[in-house]
């Protein structure tokens, strides 16, 4: 794996969002370790193959992103989390701030997401 490349788990219930993120992140040199279509799958995949960072959609069936964050924090403190959402109202912004999870709005350009991923991983590794 190239230096600086991250191992990323993509958790989003939309097939096409996962497809796009996989292509974009791999084009940037990262490795997508898995794709999860809901919060429970995300937790399961972190158990079997912990990534460097989870790109986490917040609105997902079974377990939503809000429920996944405390589980990952407790069980996998070395895994960074970036919340990735279509819109962020006051509740989402405040909640992510409280949980200290970086929040990125969905865009066609993966650069903001990659920057947030790197910052989140650096912070986890620096603890």
């Amino acid at each position: 794996m190239a230096e600086g490349a991250l191992r990323v788990l993509v958790a989003d219930d939309e097939d096409d969002v996962r497809l796009l993120l996989r292509l974009q992140l791999e084009a940037l040199g990262h490795t997508v370790t898995g794709e999860a279509a809901d919060g429970s799958e995300a937790i399961e995949q972190c158990e079997t193959d912990p990534p460097d960072v989870v790109v986490l959609d917040l609105l997902m069936p079974r377990r939503n992103g809000f429920e996944v964050i405390p589980v990952l924090r407790a069980d996998h403190p070395d895994v960074a989390i970036v919340a990735y959402t279509a819109v962020a109202g006051d509740f989402v912004r405040n909640e992510m701030k409280r949980l200290h999870v970086p929040l990125v709005l969905k865009t066609a350009n993966a650069s903001p997401l990659e920057a947030a991923m790197r910052a989140a991983v650096s912070e986890v590794r620096g603890r």
């Binding site: 219930d13 939309e14 097939d15 096409d16 969002v17 497809l19 796009l20 292509l23 974009q24 084009a27 609105l59 997902m60 069936p61 079974r62 939503n64 809000f66 279509a86 819109v87 109202g89 709005l105 969905k106 865009t107 066609a108 350009n109 993966a110």
Partner: protein, 226 residues
């Protein structure tokens, strides 16, 4: 019991409602728009035939999603030009519901043949099935019946006990229940739009509590006597 949906009481309430509506519309627009844009960029750089095909299918899927979203928003705004205009045909509502249902059904019985525009029936029954399977729990039941004038389809699902007021809210435009808000994107207009299209065909859509918990959605459409 007659339930009157809450009417905004003040400018603050109106502003809150406006923000809520724009928030859900923005959410529903942003995902397919940004996905389309990103997919188009990937397609430009694509040199693998299989991947190109997969990307093209994804582009088409998201374009259809946006097309449907525009129709839904126009309907929600009361613009009835998007109500289907095809001629009424005989539609077996029970068979239609079963064809749209992907999971187990504990009861599937009766008959209900309506004279209705195919697209209206498909739209309404799809919303009933989606609502039951996404937000309800087992046992599920699909029951058809006929009166002199109407073909009746009832779709029932289990779930928590809800009051008539709570159930009436589910069919209000842009209303989303707590479970829906935290687990799925969506505009919260499916049942309201289903009601709009069936009323345009002389039908009705009502919801009532299911004894023991859950919801029974009842669709009445003009009966086919042919």
């Amino acid at each position: 019991m007659v339930y009157a949906p809450p009417v905004p009481a003040s400018q603050t309430d109106v502003d809150l409602l406006r923000r809520r509506v724009l928030n859900v519309v923005g959410h529903e627009l942003r995902t397919p728009v940004t996905t389309l844009s990103g997919l188009a960029h990937e397609l430009e750089d694509c040199d693998d035939a299989e991947l190109c095909h997969e990307l093209a299918e994804a582009v088409a899927r998201n374009a259809r999603r946006l097309d449907r979203l525009v129709d839904d928003l126009l309907l929600a705004a009361g613009v009835t030009t998007v109500v289907p205009v095809d001629a009424p045909v005989r539609v077996d509502l029970v068979a239609l519901a079963r064809s749209l249902w992907t999971g187990p059904v504990s009861a599937l019985e009766g008959q209900a043949t309506a004279l209705v525009r195919q697209e209206s029936a498909r739209r309404a029954v799809t919303e009933l099935v989606d609502n039951a399977t996404i937000y309800g729990t087992a046992p599920y039941a699909i029951v058809g019946s006929e009166t002199d004038e109407h073909a009746v389809l009832e779709v029932a699902n289990g779930g928590p006990e809800l009051s008539e007021a709570e159930i009436a809210l589910a069919a209000e435009l842009f209303f989303r229940g707590e479970r829906a808000v935290t687990t799925r994107p969506g505009l919260g207009i499916g049942l309201a739009l289903a009601r709009t299209v069936v009323e345009a065909d002389g039908g009705s859509l009502t919801l009532r509590p299911r004894p023991g918990g859950g919801v029974i959605a009842r669709l009445e459409l003009p009966r086919s006597h042919g």
